[in-house]
Each structure stands twice: as structure tokens, then as C-alpha cells.
């Protein structure tokens, strides 16, 4: 064999050997994780009652903010039909003519401060009113329609500047044919403010209970570490690295969080199942469309992910603190 061929052959052997070594290392690494996962599942099965209680604690901690978030989300859905912008209702004179209405509509549409204007005739107003109060034959029983025609105006000033809106209301009130003008704004603003407060409360609660999950996992893993203290010492004595020692405890934390997340999803859906008929009745009474707000697959995956991450973090934190303490001792 010539020298060149020998070099090529050696290079081939080296690259083959490198690939083989890399694959071996990868296989060992994955095998290590698989063994740690199996080992952690086995350890959790050993302490059934303790494990179940930890699952439940984590489940409740995750279920509470998740459930509240679902309620807030659906509240937003229910009020979603209501415009976020201010609305000015113009009550027209009882004796206004069609011609005057047309002129008024044209004037409104050409006004730069007006985004849209919608005319509701007295007949339409009465029909809507009788439907809302559940007296469909009301119009027949009345000799005369007592309601005025109304134009609902949505201003372009997107509800941020109260003074400007009030000035616009005064301007519209003084238009020919308009008897009165009201600004339907503050109650909507209050409602959205309340919803925003509710949402922030949910976030704060989620943060606190997330911390709670972390502490529950840390506590549970610390207890397990105490149980396996001697085993850890043996491992360290014969050359186990810190990541090797950490791994099963991280997987234990991950499993606590995972099953806790699953329990949270089940608990929330159970609560929603119980609450749905009452909420549906309430929504029906306001003629608001209501869809059952069960937590679906995406919510399940999110809860499993959040639970697992918090659990793994708790496991890591507990075992790391133990190893640091040992190094200091």
C-alpha cells in the first residue's frame, strides 16, 4: 500500500472512529436520561401517599390561577360584543321629518370627529325594547309609539379624552332636530377597568402560586434527598458527577409538575362542568351568546408545560442547594 493510500485509509478510519465515539457518547447520554427518568418514576411509586399529596398540592396551585384566567377570558368574551369606544346617543325630536333625518345623517357622516352614525327609527326602537323585556306584543297594545328616533354615534376620539368627548356631545346636542344627547361611556370604561384589574390579579396570583409550586417541589425533593443521602454519598465516592446526581431529582420534580398540571386541568374542567348550567342561564337572561369554556388540548399542553418546567426548576434548585451545602461542609 502506498503512503498516500495509507493516509486516506487512516483518515477514513479516524472519521469512522470519531462518528462511532460520538454516537456512543450520545447513546450513553440519552441512556443516562432514560435511566434517571425510570429511576425517578420508581422512587415516586415507592412513596405513594406522599407523592399523591404533592401532586394534589401542585394541582390545586396550578388549577386556581388557570381557572380564574379561564373565567376572566370568558368574561372578556361575554363583553366582547360591547364596543371599547364611547357611544353618543342622539334622541331626535318626536316631530322630526324624514328629510330632516337625512340632512342630520349627512351632517354627521361628514363630521371629522364622527366615525360612524346609525339611525334607529321609533318602530325599530320599540321592537328592540319589547324583545329585550320579553313582551313581544307590546307594540300592538300601544296606540302610539312613545319612543323617539335615535342616532347612535361612534366618535373618532377613541375614548381617551373625556373633555373632548363631552364637547362633542354638547355640539351634537345643539344640532337641528336633536332633542337630547347622552354619552354612554363611563360605565363601559369602569367595566373594562374592572376586567383589567381582574386580569392583573390573575397574573399576580399565578406568579404567587407558581412560586408556591416551586416551594412545594423543593420541599418534596429535599425530603427525598434526605432519604437518599447515603446513596448520594456512595455515588460521589465512586466518581459520580453532580449532573448525574442531579438528574433523577430533576426528573422527580418534572414528574411532580407534569402530573400536577394534568390534575389542575381535570379539576378546572370539573369545576367548569358544574358551573356551566348556572352561567348559561345567566347569560341567556341577558341574551348573550355563551359557549362552554372548557379547557381544551392547548390549555392542557400549556398546563403540562408550565407544571413540568416549574417542577424541574424546583428539583434542580433543591438538589443544587444540597450539593452546594455539601461542598461547603
Amino acid at each position: 500500500m502506498t503512503e498516500e493510500k495509507q493516509i486516506v485509509s487512516a483518515k477514513k478510519w479516524m472519521s469512522h472512529s470519531f462518528i462511532e465515539a460520538t454516537l456512543f457518547r450520545l447513546r450513553q447520554y440519552l441512556l443516562g436520561h432514560y435511566v434517571a427518568l425510570r429511576q425517578s418514576a420508581h422512587e415516586l411509586r415507592q412513596t405513594q401517599l406522599g407523592t399523591l399529596l404533592t401532586f394534589l398540592m401542585i394541582g390545586v396551585s396550578i388549577a386556581l390561577p388557570a381557572g380564574l384566567w379561564t373565567v376572566m377570558h370568558n368574561m372578556k368574551g361575554l363583553t366582547g360584543g360591547l364596543s371599547h369606544n364611547a357611544q353618543i346617543s342622539l334622541f331626535l325630536r318626536m316631530d322630526i321629518s324624514d328629510n330632516e333625518v337625512e340632512n342630520l345623517m349627512n351632517a354627521l357622516k361628514s363630521n371629522r370627529a364622527v366615525a360612524s352614525a346609525h339611525y334607529i327609527s321609533p318602530a325599530e326602537g320599540l321592537k328592540e325594547f319589547s324583545e329585550r323585556i320579553g313582551m313581544e306584543g307590546l307594540s300592538d297594545s300601544l296606540n302610539e309609539n312613545p319612543l323617539p328616533a335615535v342616532i347612535t354615534v361612534e366618535p373618532k376620539l377613541v375614548g381617551e379624552n373625556d373633555k373632548e368627548l363631552e364637547n362633542l356631545t354638547v355640539f351634537l346636542r345643539n344640532l337641528p332636530g336633536v332633542d337630547n344627547a347622552t354619552l354612554d361611556f363611563k360605565w363601559l370604561k369602569r367595566l373594562h377597568s374592572l376586567l383589567a384589574i381582574g386580569q392583573r390579579t390573575v397574573y399576580a396570583l399565578a406568579l404567587l402560586l407558581g412560586l408556591g409550586v416551586l416551594l412545594v417541589v423543593i420541599n418534596a425533593i429535599r425530603y427525598l434527598i434526605q432519604r437518599y443521602h447515603k446513596q448520594i454519598q456512595i455515588y460521589q465516592l465512586v466518581g459520580a458527577t453532580d449532573p448525574y446526581i442531579r438528574r433523577p431529582f430533576i426528573y422527580m420534580g418534572l414528574q411532580y409538575g407534569f402530573w400536577g398540571g394534568l390534575l389542575a386541568w381535570m379539576m378546572d374542567n370539573l369545576i367548569l362542568l358544574v358551573l356551566t348550567p348556572s352561567v348559561r342561564t345567566l347569560a341567556d337572561s341577558y341574551s348573550v351568546a355563551f359557549h362552554t369554556p372548557y379547557l381544551g388540548i392547548l390549555a392542557l399542553l400549556t398546563l403540562l408545560f408550565i407544571g413540568s418546567v416549574l417542577g424541574a426548576l424546583g428539583g434542580y434548585s433543591a438538589v443544587n442547594s444540597y450539593l452546594r451545602q455539601q461542598q461547603r461542609a
Binding site: R25, Q28, Q236, L237, V238, G239, A240, T241, D242, Y244
Partner: protein, 229 residues
């Protein structure tokens, strides 16, 4: 192999476990570390194993200054040492094979290699027939031998033993000492801490004596008592 240079170890409560200890142990040498209880034998071994760090002085093991070994590298360093303690430190719910295989598992050896090397180590300590037995079913002497098999399975250059015969009867103790001598003859450096002078009296190896934390003797025992007689 081991070099202690003015090593002092004070515990956090101020107790000086070692004071200005100097000694050297060459490659392939075997020595006994003796002294009364509390003389500092275990502390000295713990320092070599990096279970403790010395307060001052320098320790070099296998040409490596121990103060240069960072926390994350301690595990890799320990893989080059075989350790036997008085309490055998075995996993009670595992088999003999699983216990002996631990250093090889941590070193990332192949499954087939682990099996053959564990069997070879168990053969050396005479426990091959008990490979599949759970640890709890073994006698104390057998557990000690499992611990020795675990210490030699990864072919370390240095073997440390802390009172390895502390719980054993004289017959078994002599048997264990002969095992250490066999490993030493294969080129392994061996350091055994013991206070059993009767046991080591007839063995022809260096005796390092500690007294209240000071190395009072690092003499070479030239001949066994029987040979002198």
C-alpha cells in the same frame, strides 16, 4: 504518587486534625497509616479523596496538586482512586454486580465491558458465585470484599482503605490484607489506615504514624518480625 507538604487541616470548630504533615508515597508502594483514634488518619484520607480541603500546605496526588482541582472536576479525579471504607458504603437494595459496576457506569463504559470487568473483580475477591445476590444477604466479610471489588474494578492507580478490617474477625482481616498485597504486586499504590498494629505487624511495608495530627514516623519496615526472629 502521594506527596504531603506541610499540610495542616483545621475544622470549622478550630480543632486541628492535621498539623504540618509531610510525607511521600511512591508509585507502586504500599504503606500503612497508623495512629490512635482521633490521630487524623481519616482526615488525611479524606483530603486525598477531596472530601475535605486542607487549610494550608500542598497535597499532590498522581502529579496533580489537589488545590488546583475545582469542584466539578472532583468526580473525575475520584475515578482514578479506589476507596474502601470501614462502613462498606454499598447500595442495600442492589445486587453485588450492580454495586461493583458503579464506578464503570459513572465512567461511561460499555455494557459488555462492565459485565466482564465486574466478573473479573469479583473473581479476584472470591465472590464470583454471589454476583447476582442482593447485598443484604451477604455477611459482613463478604460485603467488605464487595467493597474491595468495587474499589479495584476500574483499575485505579491508587487504592485507599480506611479501617478496612475494623469490623472483621482476625482470620478474615488477614485474608483482606493479603488481597491488598496482591493488588500492590500488580503495581497499584496502596495506603491503608488502620489502628490494628497486630494485624500489620508481620507485614513488610512502610508504616506512617500519626499522633495528635502530627506525622511522627514515616519509617520503612525492612523485614517482618518473623524474619528478624
Amino acid at each position: 504518587m502521594i506527596n504531603f507538604n506541610a499540610v495542616t487541616k483545621k475544622y470549622s470548630n478550630g480543632f486541628p486534625a492535621l498539623r504540618q504533615v509531610n510525607f511521600e508515597l511512591g508509585d507502586g508502594e504500599m504503606a500503612f497509616l497508623t495512629g490512635h483514634s482521633g490521630a487524623g488518619k481519616s482526615t488525611l484520607l479524606k483530603i486525598i479523596l477531596l472530601m475535605e480541603r486542607c487549610t494550608s500546605g500542598q497535597v499532590i496526588v498522581n502529579h496533580m496538586p489537589l488545590d488546583k482541582i475545582k469542584g466539578r472536576d472532583v468526580a473525575y479525579f475520584r475515578r482514578s482512586i479506589g476507596v474502601i471504607l470501614q462502613d462498606p458504603y454499598l447500595l442495600p437494595n442492589s445486587t453485588v454486580h450492580q454495586n461493583v459496576a458503579l464506578p464503570l457506569v459513572f465512567a461511561g463504559c460499555r455494557h459488555q465491558d462492565i459485565a466482564s470487568r465486574v466478573r473479573a473483580a469479583l473473581d479476584k475477591v472470591g465472590l464470583l458465585s454471589k454476583e447476582k445476590m442482593p447485598i443484604e444477604t451477604l455477611s459482613q466479610g463478604e460485603q467488605e470484599r464487595v467493597s474491595i471489588a468495587r474499589a479495584i474494578v476500574h483499575k485505579p492507580k491508587l487504592l485507599l482503605a480506611d479501617e478496612p478490617t475494623g469490623n472483621l474477625d482476625p482470620g478474615l482481616s488477614t485474608e483482606i490484607m493479603h488481597l491488598f498485597e496482591q493488588f500492590n504486586q500488580m503495581g497499584v499504590t496502596v495506603l491503608i489506615a488502620t489502628h490494628d498494629l497486630g494485624l500489620i505487624g508481620h507485614l513488610r511495608h512502610r508504616i506512617l504514624t500519626l499522633h495528635q495530627g502530627r506525622m511522627v514516623s514515616t519509617g520503612v519496615r525492612m523485614m517482618a518480625q518473623e524474619e528478624l526472629a
